[in-house]
């Protein structure tokens, strides 16, 4: 599942951003020309000019996510993201959004397991305002924090949990998976949204501590994209961010790679019509070797009607309503997920039987792709669809600013687009076969079922 948003209107864009993958057959690196530099206090700044329209986008990544939450504070990084909009001494509560919207700007933020990003865009005249507001909260968020502000966003976030998971069909799946697949103590053991109990326990001193620990220039990167003059932008960055004090770098321990021993099964029920089978494997981390192969495999298995699982389960065997598969990439380890919505049977017994048949078919398809790998045509097909959606992302200054920050975060260089693309051009049927064998082990995975609750009085 994607990160969490201050508001949900961009949820789809966030999903798309997670799914982005870059093909190797075109020269997109020309498209996001940039310059970057680091301020003495450690803030990395990336500038990308695009003068097509009189607009500007600012995108600020902080290198903190739900993986950094202390014990007993699940959901805190995301709750903190909400608090970043609650005002400072200079910009009192409510003013951040009021000032911005008054001038035609809009903003949002998302939190994932690994990072938190804040972004705003609007008419080019707003660049100074955007930089002022971001620098102001980087400087003075915690000094103005109160229990009342915390309580407000606690209430909002708990309703986000209800809306996005509890009151949504199959939503509980995403609350369950982290604890099942990551061991206790692993930074990914809990979902980004957290538990009601932990959210209730968060205190103002937690907010102050978290701010001190993670919100400083050296733990962030700032991308600006759009219609601006670099010299002016640099002067504004210096004016507003230059005097924020440096802090020592965070020392982080990398946990041992997670691993699944054997097959773990779990069955849940929900008020739904169709039974669901969900298969989850540990897979290579974001941008590490094998990550791109898993993207291609996901496409070959379930990307569109001609994919192997769709054709077999939905089209030929008529066992399922829909299938999907994706490589959900993260910093400390990814998940490869296959999800099948089965056609409903008359009762639980029949549903279980059907899920059993589906599992056999899924395993047979996996065995085939482990044997021969994705075909040349499947790889070409995946690359072309990825190229298309990649260009779609490059249409927007908001997406480009985020992409530059993403490359900096993962590759240490905003210009890593070429390196990223090269990963896909190197893929062959043989490499996908290797990774399918290594990752999609039928003897080491999580298998989750969601069954429709038996209805009272159903005839």
């Amino acid at each position: 599942m994607p990160g969490h948003l201050k508001t949900n209107r961009l949820a789809i864009a966030a999903l798309a951003a997670l799914a982005v993958a870059l093909p190797g057959s075109f020269a997109a690196s020309q498209e996001i020309a940039f310059e970057h530099y680091t301020l003495p206090n450690g803030l990395t700044v990336i500038l990308h000019e695009d003068h097509r329209l009189p607009r500007v986008a600012v995108n600020l990544w902080y290198y903190v996510g739900s993986k950094d939450e202390p014990k007993g504070r699940s959901g805190f990084a995301h709750l903190f993201e909400h608090l970043m909009f609650m005002g400072t001494e200079k910009v009192p509560i409510g003013q951040f959004d009021t000032i911005m919207e008054g001038a035609g700007g809009s903003n949002n933020a998302t939190t994932s397991s690994d990072r938190t990003n804040y972004f705003e865009s609007g008419p080019r005249e707003l660049l100074e305002l955007f930089l002022f507001l971001e620098a102001d909260r980087m400087t003075g968020l915690s000094q103005a924090m109160t229990l009342q502000k915390l309580n407000t966003q606690r209430g909002v976030v708990r309703n986000e949990r209800r809306q996005s998971y509890e009151n949504r069909p199959y939503g509980k799946l995403w609350l369950e998976i982290p604890a099942l697949i990551f061991p206790p103590g692993h930074p990914y053991h809990h979902p980004v949204i957290g538990s009601h109990e932990d959210l209730e326990n968060a205190s103002v001193s937690d907010v102050v501590g978290f701010f001190r620990q993670f919100y400083f220039p050296g733990n962030a990167s700032l991308a600006i994209a759009g219609d601006f003059k670099p010299a002016e932008a640099k002067a504004l960055v210096e004016k507003y961010f230059g005097s924020i004090p440096a802090r020592p770098a965070i020392k982080r321990k990398k946990p041992p790679p997670p691993k699944t021993d054997g097959v773990l099964r779990k069955t849940l029920t929900d008020v739904v019509e169709l039974p669901l089978a969900c298969f989850v494997w540990h897979s290579p981390s974001f941008y590490l070797e094998g990550d791109a192969d898993m993207d291609i495999l996901a496409n070959a298995l379930a990307g569109g009607k001609s994919s192997r699982l769709y054709k077999r389960l939905v089209y030929d065997r008529k066992l399922a309503q829909n299938v999907s598969a994706w490589q959900s990439s993260s910093l400390l380890g990814s998940e490869f997920v296959i999800q099948v919505f089965a056609l409903p049977g008359q009762d639980t017994k029949e549903n279980l039987k059907r899920l059993g048949v589906i599992e056999k078919e899924v395993d047979a398809i996996i065995a085939e792709i482990q044997e021969g790998g994705a075909s040349g045509r499947e790889i070409g097909r995946a690359r072309n669809s990825m190229e298309s959606s990649f260009w779609t992302d490059l249409e927007s200054i908001e997406e480009k600013a985020d992409l530059l920050n993403r490359y900096l975060f993962h590759f240490g260089n905003p210009g890593a687009i070429g390196r990223d693309l090269a990963r896909y051009s190197k893929i062959t049927p043989a490499t996908t076969a290797t990774w399918a064998k290594r990752i999609l082990d039928p003897q080491a995975r999580l298998i989750l079922h969601i069954l429709p609750e038996e209805k009272e009085g159903k005839q």
Binding site: P54, R55, K90, D97, N107, F132, N159, R162, R381, S388
Partner: protein, 510 residues
């Protein structure tokens, strides 16, 4: 507050706005206040215009609107068909949508799977969508593969197989989609609400994808007939955005469409007012144990072409259209009972409505309802607060410019004009009206629209929780923790099924 005079703006840039010229010229006015240290931006000098599409009329009568764009090597195409679900016959709700779904289920030698494979291999994606007034078939493809993909696109449009085998499967999947729709409380609220707001038999009352019962009764022969009736060159407009030389494109299009002929399809008659909303209605759909209650409230809006539509768009931006809107500020940031509250407009050919909605935590159902009504009453008083008009106008302007940055956004601007047979640049009038609107325009429209006594209220959640909340509201005339309401009363609740049919007294479907 005063506006900075801008070069061509009429003096009614009353609260700090943008200006218009013959083409949509966009220039902002200065902000009203200066907070210490906060660098509030000054006037915008930017001029942005809505591009004029190049209009090509093909020999078979098909109109093509070409919008030049060369910032990415992609081509976006959208065939707008001037028929939507409003043309579904009674009892066959979902017919047009299903016939659209069937279009990419095979053509010529290619079956459904082979066709999908070809398109994906070209880096192409197809988007079939059915709205109330019109339908569209969209294609996005890598420019280098445009000729091949466009060949497939025209095959899909003109020569869909509509085979028995693919139909059987498509219908089964559609029926399951409809069952899944019933699991989502927000979808249920929409289905039930539209059905009751427009009333049985109105062209807008049924969901585009139909009902379980109507879809069960649709045959492949009817699908074929529906397709033939609406897919005619005189009933469609082709929108294209990309980097093309018009004459060459015309030659290519003539080749593809030469065999496509037919008279224009007759548009359905204009329906009258959706029905009797002169009195308040309150309906409840039970979802036992729900963590939240979905509140969805309907009011009359404005038709797409109404001269008042721009003013309503601004007023509604203030009411529930942005993060700092009255609704969201109150229900989310003050009462903290929801992740978000909003209000949107559906401004269609025959009629328009306004929907205000939120999912509130179950325990705050009474508070949620009463605060919606308080905000309606506030709006109906007609007084705009400081900065609200400026915010609404800036936001609308900004969203327009944002939509110009993508090809899909560009096509979106022209789609409705194409569908409703209007001038390609008719939106200039709409945006110009917003640019010059004054507070008085918004006050007038607000007094006419936000009439709390004429609302349809749909509640989807745990019935026991809802009944209790309604009882509290009736008894006290407001909710605990809520602001004051004037002369507030609620009608008797009616209980409905998830498809919008009245529940019988014993709880079973009628």
């Amino acid at each position: 507050m005063r506006a900075a005079p801008s070069k061509t703006a009429p003096p009614r840039c009353a609260s700090g706005l943008w200006a218009i010229a013959a083409i949509l010229l966009i220039g902002g006015c200065a902000a009203p206040t200066k907070q210490a240290e906060v660098p509030i931006p000054g006037a915008s000098s930017a001029v942005v215009s809505l591009p004029d599409p190049e209009i090509l009329k093909l020999s078979n009568g098909l109109e093509v609107w070409l919008i030049h764009s060369d910032h990415v090597p992609l081509v976006d195409v959208s065939l707008i068909v001037r028929s939507g679900s409003s043309s579904d016959p009674k009892g066959k709700e979902g017919l047009l949508s299903l016939s659209m779904d069937m279009m990419d289920e095979g053509t010529g030698q290619l079956n459904s799977i082979a066709l999908a494979d070809e398109l994906q291999f070209l880096g192409a994606s197809l988007d079939l969508s059915t709205g109330k007034d019109y339908s569209s078939i969209g294609l996005r493809v890598l420019k280098r593969n445009f000729p091949a993909a466009f060949g497939l696109f025209t095959d899909i449009l003109l020569r869909p197989s509509f085979s028995e085998q693919e139909w059987e499967r498509t219908r089964r999947l559609s029926l399951n989609d409809l069952k899944q729709r019933e699991e989502r409380p927000t979808s249920v609220a929409r289905i039930v609400g539209d059905r009751l707001f427009y009333g049985e038999g109105h062209p807008y009352s049924h969901p585009e994808d139909g009902y379980l019962e109507s879809v069960r009764g649709i045959s492949l022969a009817e699908i074929r007939k529906a397709h033939a009736a609406v897919f005619r060159p005189g009933n469609a407009v082709l929108l294209i955005t990309g980097d093309f030389e018009p004459a060459a494109l015309r030659r290519e299009l003539e080749e593809h469409f030469s065999g496509w002929k037919g008279p224009p399809a007759a548009l359905p008659e204009k329906a009258a007012h959706p029905g009797a909303l002169a009195a308040q209605q309150l309906v409840v759909v039970d979802k036992p144990g729900a963590a939240q209650t979905v509140i969805r409230i309907y009011l009359d809006g404005k038709r797409y072409e109404s001269p008042e539509a721009p003013y309503l768009a601004l007023a509604n931006t203030i009411f529930g259209g942005t993060f700092t809107s009255r609704l969201n500020s109150n229900l989310r940031e003050e009462k903290k009972i929801t992740y978000g509250a909003r209000s949107g407009l559906a401004s269609r050919r025959l009629w328009g409505h306004l929907v205000a909605s939120s999912s509130v935590e179950s325990g705050a159902t009474a508070l949620g309802i009463s605060e919606f009504f308080r905000e309606f009453q506030e709006m109906a008083r007609g007084s705009m607060r400081k900065g609200e008009l400026r915010k609404a106008a800036s936001t609308q302007r900004s969203r327009l410019i944002e939509s110009l940055q993508t090809q899909a956004g560009l096509l979106g601007i022209y789609s409705t004009a194409a569908a409703l047979n209007l001038e390609p640049t008719e939106r200039r009038t709409f945006y110009a009206a917003m640019a010059t609107a004054g507070e008085k325009d918004l006050e007038e429209i607000s007094k006419k629209i936000y009439l709390w006594e004429d609302t349809l209220v749909v509640l989807v959640g745990d019935r026991r929780v809802i009944d209790q909340a309604l009882e509290e509201l009736r008894k006290n005339g407001r909710a605990r923790g809520g602001g004051p309401l004037k002369n507030f009363h609620l009608p008797q609740a009616k209980y409905f099924t998830r498809e919008g049919l009245p529940e019988a007294a014993d709880g079973t479907e009628k």
